[in-house]
Amino acid sequence: MIEVTDIGKLYGETAALKGVTFSAPPGAVTGFLGPNGAGKTTALRILLGLARPDRGTALIDGTKYADLKSPRRVVGAVIDSMGFEPGRTGRDHLRVVARAAAIKQTRVDEVLDFVDLTDAADRAAGGYSQGMRQRLALASALLGDPQVLLLDEPANGLDPAGMAWLRRLLTDWAAQGRTVLFSSHVLTEVEFVADRIVIIDHGRVVREGAAEQLYGSERAVVVRAEDCESLKRLARDEGWTFRRDGADRLVIHGVSSAVVGSAVAGAGIALTELSSETSTRQLEDLFLDLTTAEDHA
């Protein structure tokens, strides 16, 4: 169980986090979604005790990371800032971690095998591809067979097969009743695997909930008209939440297509399209609307 409560973090004058609150329960994959620079990594670093919050608490199973007795056995983490000593082999990297965390050395071979890195294990990590580095970092996270997985942009550098493998890993992990929190700025990575989604932008959580709930509550209606300006005026007059998409298209949230249709007919605007989007499209719109709102303001 991960519980983040009202954490704030300033970097100089800039507020990276402005009171972030969310949770990731066991038995579910929680996707932490937000554009680059939204504060995802900062929040995860605070959870891991790597950065200090100016306020608020970030707890794992009710305890601060730094107070965990054997953190590697509780939390497995992959974050962006992890590197490898280029001359050290992948196997030796894992042996070092296992040694420091008092984890049996036999576990090293197990995780190497699990991430399919056995063949490259005795080569210097400096020569690894990005995907191999990512898998080595994952292996390192899995060494302690942790109850909580905390992954920052884990899909970076993975090929499609690697992605499918990662999705299976996350889902299996959650199915065993463990906690998975992973961040991404790529929507499709999140929606295929997350049971719960936390959307963060400009250092604030803008939406949190079960994935279906987020899709369901945000039915997006797409309208297209040659006279898009009149359409925009209408949407503004009606008080709809909308976003311009391209030259002649509006994406509208919070109202049904029937309501939109009758209002448009009443205003005498000729539509070239009126549709409800597929769920992918909806989440994407929601994501874009929520995360670009500040720019429009």
Binding site: L48, Y65, A77, S81, G83, F84, E85, P86
Partner: protein, 245 residues
């Protein structure tokens, strides 16, 4: 703490550069001893006298700079290669990491120092024989100097690790120490020897009974260097507690 130390030693053993550093240290020491013997015998110094032995052997710490590099690699190297994140995830109590690195660097420094001192002795004895002398193995100065060189290497390792933890920048630490030991400290020592002899490099010259100047005695020099390492490591711990990794 035992696990942490074992992990630090394993890190060192699986680093490519460690062999090169050792080779460089032993090589420089050998060259320095050879040079000292040649210069001393050209100056018609009695190589077997106490002064002769000190003149020849006090250079056996010449390679100690490489131990400083090693110490900096042990601590600041983790930030260079961004392995510090992994280290702090395993050991979130950072004072333990700083302390483990200090101890590891001191132990590695002792091993390096012993190997360098051993080769200094072997080369000196060999050159003495070539020049028709017998190396005075019974001279207590010889063993004091070699022992002092080992202690110096050990403490320089600790100093390198401590400053590396404090500064986190491996190249910066190494360059900083080079400038300090080879330049700044000599200037201070030249201007105010009474103050200068308490500085780290001069304390090292006291440890190897350098005959060219009035340096601290061995026990005082060792205590001074130990104090430097501990104070800097303590500063690193205090700052590390507040710092983001």
């Amino acid at each position: 703490m035992i696990d942490l130390l074992a992990a630090e030693v394993l890190k060192l053993r699986t680093t490519r550069t460690i062999g090169l550093l050792l080779l460089a240290m032993v090589g420089i020491t050998g060259l320095a001893v050879t040079g000292a013997v040649v210069l001393a015998s050209n100056a018609n110094l009695d190589l077997q006298s106490e002064h002769g032995v000190r003149t020849v052997l006090h250079v056996s710490a010449s390679g100690a700079l490489f131990v400083l590099v090693l110490g900096a690699m042990i601590s600041a190297g983790e930030f260079r290669h961004r392995t510090a994140t992994d280290t702090f995830l395993t050991t979130p109590r950072r004072w333990r990491v700083v302390a483990a690195k200090l101890v590891t660097a001191a132990v590695a420094g002792t091993v390096f120092g012993a190997l360098a001192a051993g080769s200094a002795l072997a080369i000196a004895a060999h050159l003495y024989a070539l020049k028709g002398y017998t190396f005075p193995l019974s001279s207590s100065e010889a063993w004091q100097i070699l022992g002092g060189a080992i202690v110096y290497a050990s403490l320089l390792g600790a100093l390198g690790a401590a400053t590396g933890s404090l500064v986190r920048n491996q190249v910066g630490v190494i360059v900083g120490w080079l400038v300090w030991l080879l330049l700044a400290e000599n200037i201070v020592f030249g201007l105010a020897p009474d103050l200068g002899r308490w500085l780290p490099g001069a304390a090292g010259r006291g440890l190897v009974l350098d005959p060219n100047g009035n340096f601290l005695s061995q026990p005082v020099a060792a205590a001074v260097l130990t104090a430097y390492a501990i104070v800097i490591a303590a500063a690193a711990i205090v700052i590390e507690r507040r710092r983001d990794a």
